[in-house]
Amino acid sequence: MERSLSPFELEVAGLIIETLNLDDVAAEQIEPEAPLFGEGLGLDSIDALELSLMISKRYGIQLRSDDPNNVEIFASLRALAQHIEQHRSQ
């Protein structure tokens, strides 16, 4: 497993921290393949919503609740960054 973050992964990590006010976490510290929700970063469903809306706004992606891949997309920082990179429009 590649533990260090790519530049874009760093950027997305920064967005997560900024959006959710995670004062005690540094972007580089986030493990790219660790879970975002529950364990790992320990985000909850409210965080998920805020993040989804911010990602939509920042990268022009429409995240929809009926996307069957949502669990995978939000499974880790790496998966999320990958999804954004593939679908971004801005």
Binding site: F37, S45, I46, A48, L49, L53, R64, D67, N70, V71
Partner: protein, 302 residues
């Protein structure tokens, strides 16, 4: 401590597991084939059964009743509480079947509700386990159907709720169950489409942030999730209370909590606290006026 209370709530919701599906089926059958009067006769032995066997529910009830009545309660008060609960469950059978005409429903501040529905814009309808949330459906009778979806913690769903939803799969399909990462995104999309999202704000679920507030004179822990949600979505929060008054009578109360929670992050946390406190105040107000509608049968205080 928090987890403890959520476990209590979960255990309570599982209590009816013991032998009850048959009982529920029986009441249901009698309710729909013989009549409400017959089913209501059955409520007495059923309430006695739970009075005698549901020890934890009884303990929680004694504690609650003492606080709300201001004096020691005895088994008759607990019985009345359980009986009231059972009566509203029976009535949910009719509500879920679209059979509202049999109830005498008095609606207070109905214009708050109708204005919201007419606006075509969604909101959070925040209720509690005081009385019957299902009474909301009785309001659909004059309009074609109110655009309602209920946000429900389906992991901790009681067997009663599962059973009732089996009666009406169409309504069950409108439930938004938790807790995938995209669950609340689904809520936001529904609100954008003009749905009213029903949620209950008095029981923490283990996950989700909480806040301690004074309730009936002592601190208790309340979830803040629904109000946080309204803050992020930027929609109004309307309070809902569907109170059972005996016989076939219900009182419905609507109250506007707020049009908008403060959008900017700086003020948001404070605002969420403020509105949570206000919700709890209003919950206490209505609880005192309908004490036998309190259906949180577990140790509620910290």
């Amino acid at each position: 401590m928090m987890l403890n209370k959520a476990l209590h709530a979960k255990r309570w919701s599982e209590l009816p597991e013991r032998g009850t599906p048959l009982m529920l089926w029986l009441i249901c059958w009698i309710a729909t084939h013989i009549g409400r009067w017959a089913a209501r006769l059955l409520l007495y032995p059923i309430a006695f059964y739970f009075l005698l066997t549901a020890h934890e529910a009884r303990r929680g009830s004694y504690d609650y009743l003492k606080r709300v009545l201001g004096r020691d309660a005895d088994w008759r008060h607990v019985f009345k509480l359980i009986h009231c609960f059972a009566a509203t469950i029976l009535d949910r059978v009719y509500l879920l079947g679209g059979d509202f005409e049999r109830f005498e429903v008095k609606v207070h501040q109905a214009e708050i509700f109708h204005r919201q529905v007419d606006s075509g814009q969604g909101c959070i309808l925040l209720g509690s386990h005081l009385g019957s949330f299902e009474m909301l459906r009785a309001l659909g009778v004059s309009q074609q159907r109110i655009p309602l979806r209920v946000l429900m913690d389906t992991e901790h769903n009681s067997s009663i709720t599962r059973f009732l939803h089996a009666l009406n799969p169409e309504i069950a399909a409108t439930v938004i169950g938790s807790y995938r990462p995209d669950t609340l995104l689904e809520v936001k999309e529904s609100v954008d489409e003009g749905f009213l999202i029903g949620a209950l704000g008095d029981r923490p679920t283990g996950a989700g942030r909480t806040m301690r507030c004074e309730f009936l004179g002592a601190p208790a822990t309340f979830p803040i999730g629904a109000i946080q949600l309204a803050a992020i979505i930027q929609c109004p929060i309307i309070l809902f209370f569907g109170l059972y008054r005996g016989g076939n009578r219900y009182d419905i109360h609507f109250e506007l909590l707020t049009d908008r929670v403060a959008p900017d992050r700086a003020r948001r946390a404070q605002d969420i606290e403020r509105w949570t406190r206000r919700y709890v105040e209003r919950l206490e107000y209505h609880t005192r006026r309908a004490p036998y509608n309190w259906f949180n049968f577990y140790p509620f205080w910290d």
